[in-house]
């Protein structure tokens, strides 16, 4: 099953923020299945896209050593539907971190207008909780990040290219 809800990273600064693009296209079944007669990207998948950007922001901050999961959507507000042809500009900001989780705020803009905003909380699964072992098959996360142009734009807080993490 395909589960990529961001098309491309456009900016990534380690431990700080990230931006990306999600293009809404009518060839995605969910766009016309969700609300019959009214094509739109389901709002929950905008949360998912922002969570994918934010989850990688959190994951990278901890050197890809944690098992990061979206644990809570603190708030989500939608101001306009995302229709086929729309290009959503996602932006996420790392707000706070703990040894057991992190919070991220995120926005989606379309044509310069605020389209949605969310507060997300990520938790780090402890070993043995829910499932054992890594959350991704070997190489899957790395492949996903490559497809999303992560390594084209990702820099450290000092502006240097993100080093390759052995844990990926």
């Amino acid at each position: 099953m395909r589960w990529f809800w961001v098309d491309r990273f456009t900016e990534f600064v380690s431990g700080s923020h990230a931006s990306g693009v999600k293009n809404v296209a009518l060839d995605e079944e969910v766009v016309d299945d969700y609300c019959l007669g009214y094509t739109m990207l389901p709002p929950t998948l905008i949360i998912e896209g922002l969570a994918q950007l934010g989850g990688i922001l959190v994951h990278e901050k901890f050197g890809f050593t944690k098992r990061v999961v979206l644990a809570k959507v603190g708030s989500a507000k939608y101001y306009a539907p995302a229709r086929p042809g729309d290009s959503l500009q996602y932006h996420v900001k790392l707000e706070r971190t703990q040894d057991s989780g992190a919070t991220v705020t995120g926005t989606s803009h379309c044509d310069g207008e605020l389209q949605a905003e969310v507060d997300l909380m990520f938790a780090f699964l402890e070993e043995g909780h829910l499932i054992d072992g890594p959350l991704f098959n070997p190489g899957d996360l790395l492949a996903m990040m490559r497809m999303m142009n992560f390594f084209h734009v990702a820099v450290t807080a000092d502006g240097e290219p993100i080093p390759f993490h052995e844990n990926l």
Binding site: A71, G74, E95, Q98, S100, G101, A123
Partner: protein, 129 residues
Amino acid sequence: MALSEDEIFTKVQEALVDALGVDDDETTRDATLVGDLGAESIDFLDIVFKLEKAFDIQIPREELSPEDILTNSQYVQDGVVTADGMAELKKRMPWADLSKFQENPRVQDFGNLLTVGDLCNYVDSKVNQ
């Protein structure tokens, strides 16, 4: 800058209403976070983040969740916290009212111990120390 008891209570209340989706009037000082307000384990992380932001403090995990004590065989026997364990808990959590728990200190009951008032006392110990 020192905060008054009422200022702390109001901010703690806001954090709990936001994190748990409860009403203002439910968050009395005596209300327990788990039993009365329905907090689940993941909510505690959310509450910690909200308190850190509201009061500009750092909350180390072990200060609110003394799991290391409650899983230490030196302090727990047959699922019950020993006298040494109680002493350790009181040292770790001087802001918590452990008197009721102490009457029958079963580890399984510890999760439902903390009240809104305890949380206020904890924050007070952090911001007004």
